[in-house]
């Protein structure tokens, strides 16, 4: 077994796919793994994949041409998954996709296709939830700052929604687990930046008029519930605890 290790990113994984495929060792004899995975397997040869743009582009181009845009998007979403096995799953899926073409996404009875579908669904669902549940606070200079701690790497998937909706605002969506952020200047384009933890926490503590509206929002949140229908279990199903530390109304 030859194991190709790759960087944890869409580009990294696609380069791994390229190397594994082009090695011509046979799909059954190769495996893709993310770098920095602790336990090494015995009796396996490890090969480090070099991340290079031309490889990535070549693979993306092949996917688009043979399997279509939707397959490419599914692969992109899956690459944001928190699952350690994702690189190899993407590889197995692409073997099917390049063979079967765009219709592959319907063939959930094929295990490799189902696995990708499942990862994709998990990532998309979390991004959807966070688009709904993220709360912004207003910093002194008027910019909006929202913190999330997602299981999957989803802030890139959240950004287009807010770039459209809050196009005239300066805003930042910060992933505190990965120390990175999407930054949007009013009227401009989003950028992905690394943001060390201390920096933003400082800014956040000297925030502007947020308190007034945070108080008002809590008032509303309490009063809109019908006492006779109190149902914490139902609230829990829809709004799992892990989201709440980040939400104004539960702080």
């Amino acid at each position: 077994m030859v194991i190709f290790t790759c960087e944890d990113s869409l580009e990294g994984i696609l380069c791994g796919v390229y190397d594994a495929w082009m090695s011509r060792l046979g799909h059954a004899n190769v495996r893709l793994e993310l770098q920095e995975r602790g336990n090494l397997r015995m009796f396996s040869e490890y090969r480090q994949t070099a991340k290079e743009d031309w490889k990535t582009e070549k693979v993306i181009d092949t996917i688009r041409r043979k399997a279509g845009q939707e397959v490419y998007e599914q692969v992109f979403h899956a690459s944001l998954s928190r699952e350690e096995e994702k690189a190899d799953r993407i590889y197995r899926f692409l073997i099917c996709a390049l063979h079967l073409g765009p219709a592959v996404t319907d063939m959930l009875q094929i295990p490799a296709v189902y696995e990708l579908f499942r990862m994709n669904r998990n990532v998309t669902r979390e991004a959807m939830h966070l688009i709904e549940f993220i709360r912004f606070s207003q910093l002194r200079e008027g910019a909006l700052f929202g913190v999330v701690g997602p299981e999957n790497d989803v802030i890139l998937l959240m950004a287009p929604h807010f770039a459209d909706r809050l196009n005239a605002e300066n805003w930042i969506i910060y992933d505190e687990k990965r120390n990175k952020a999407v930054v949007h200047p009013a009227g401009g384009e989003c950028a992905l930046v690394r943001l060390p933890d201390e920096k933003w926490r400082e800014r956040l503590t000297e925030s502007g008029d947020q308190e007034e509206f945070e108080r008002l929002w809590k008032t509303f949140h309490t009063h809109i519930a019908i006492r006779e229908r109190t149902n914490r279990a139902c609230q829990m199903t829809h709004l799992p605890l892990r989201f709440r530390p980040y939400m104004t109304e539960f702080q």
């Binding site: 207003q138 009063h223 809109i224 229908r229 149902n231």
Partner: protein
């Protein structure tokens, strides 16, 4: 009962959210609108839920009354004239400020604006219209707005408001004219149906491009909805569902909401309801409504004069299937989409996935499970390649007993309010846009 003038914004918000909460519509669906440069907001066709309140209901919109002052005296309503409750009124500026600031912080998807009747329907409708005008044109708000059309208000005011709102609603409140006469004497049925008809015609005329857009805006682009109170008057489920079906058909409504009656007033004409609001009944009505809208069922298939109320122990789809065992089992490989939809445990998304997947090969039970089929229910009604999952007697009593084991637990959970579980809601993936986002949440089950 005078409106206090010098109230703080927070106090007003508390009173006017309290007063608005018995209206159950809190959806932000029905229209997809991109942001506009320099403005605040956009809308998403499936709707978004930004939070959930302690009663488990979704919070999508800032739902408030303009004022809870009212000249009418509807028996079931907390805001009725004869109640001694604190009264408040917002100003248009306050509503604009709350909406804009909440929206920027992603607390809400937009505004739901209703009101008690201050002085007269015209006066009130005008207040609401002025508020929306300010919000749209002075503040540049491009998010979702749901607004009440006040029965009895000048049609011209309703028409103008319809170009500023995304959704409008007029509540039927009680399904029959008699019910209205006893509990809401100031609201006869005709008064309610008139604006409903007007809005329907406006939407249809626009669809046929008979009316021009007004300042580039469409008329009520997200359609209209209504609400009926469940259990305040003696109508049975069959009557309720027939009325809902007629509203969908004849008035082109997007949604009918059902609101389990909460006894907020001590009034001899209101039922006592010692068990609390009739939540299970409301739940069954939502399930049936869902079957009407997405599964191609008719009210007359689910209930009849002879069986006018839903089975407490079985969901309406299982109940229907058990009465039609002669149609089952159906074969996964060949049954058409509409037939699959009628199988208990198979939902809209799983039926679509089955139809897509079987083109490229045979499906077996584990595959169905992965596609979101709830096998616990479906096994009695499906074959894969001519075989059932395990041998089943097609016997009504036997299958009922099997299904009851599962359903009883769910019913019991609903009955006990504190553990009202949305059991299988998330069994299925939630990627397909239909049914919409809020449907899959507000509706209280998974794959029927």
């Amino acid at each position: 009962m005078l409106i206090q003038q010098d109230m703080e914004l927070g106090e007003k918000l508390a009173i006017l959210a309290d007063a608005a909460k018995y209206d159950v519509a809190c959806t932000s669906s029905g229209v997809e609108r991109k942001g506009k440069p320099g403005q605040l907001g956009s809308t998403v066709a499936a709707g978004l839920c930004h939070s959930f309140a302690a009663d488990g209901r979704c919070i999508s919109l800032l739902k408030i009354l303009y004022t809870n002052q009212c000249v009418y005296d509807c028996r079931y309503c907390i805001n009725r004239r004869s109640n001694d409750v604190p009264r408040a009124a917002f100003t248009a500026d306050e509503i604009c400020r709350l909406t804009m600031e909440f929206y920027r912080r992603n607390y809400i998807e937009g505004l739901f604006l209703s009101s008690g009747i201050l002085h007269s329907p015209d006066y009130t409708m005008d207040l609401l219209y002025q508020t929306l005008w300010k919000l749209r044109f002075e503040c540049g708000f491009n998010g979702y707005i749901h607004m009440k059309a006040i029965p009895g208000a000048d049609p011209e005011l309703i028409r103008r408001a319809g170009f500023l709102a995304d959704r409008m609603s007029v509540n039927l409140e009680l399904p029959t004219a008699e019910g209205l006469r006893t509990l809401a004497p100031s609201k006869d049925r005709k008064r309610i149906l008139t604006p409903m008809r007007q809005i329907q015609r406006g939407i249809e005329a626009q669809r046929q491009e008979l009316v021009p857009y007004r300042q580039g805006r469409r008329f009520v682009p997200a359609g209209q909805s209504t609400q009926m109170i469940v259990g305040a008057t003696p109508e049975n489920d069959y009557q309720m569902l027939t009325v809902a079906e007629a509203l969908y058909r004849n008035y082109g409504l997007k949604r009918v909401f059902y609101s389990a009656f909460v006894r907020v007033n001590d009034d001899s004409l209101l039922p006592a309801l010692p068990g609390g609001p009739p939540l299970l009944r409301e739940h069954r009505l939502y399930q049936a409504d869902w079957l009407l809208r997405f599964y191609g069922f008719g009210a007359g298939e689910l209930l009849s004069e002879r069986q006018p109320n839903f089975n407490i122990f079985l969901d309406p789809k299982c109940d229907w299937a058990l009465r039609h065992l002669e149609l089952f089992p159906v074969e996964v490989q060949t049954a058409d989409y509409n037939t699959l939809l009628r199988v208990p445990g198979v939902g809209v998304r799983s039926a679509k996935r089955i139809v897509a997947a079987r083109r490229s090969g045979r499906l077996d039970f584990p595959d169905l499970k992965r596609m979101g089929v709830v096998l616990k229910r479906a096994v009695y009604f499906l074959t894969c390649g001519g075989r059932m999952m395990y041998p089943v007697r097609m016997d009504r009593d036997f299958i009922t007993a099997q299904l009851l084991g599962e359903e009883k637990r769910r019913v019991w959970d609903i009955g006990r309010q504190d553990s009202f579980r949305q059991m299988s809601m998330f069994d299925d993936g939630m990627l397909s846009p239909v049914p919409s986002g809020e449907d899959r949440r507000s509706a209280v089950w998974g794959e029927l």
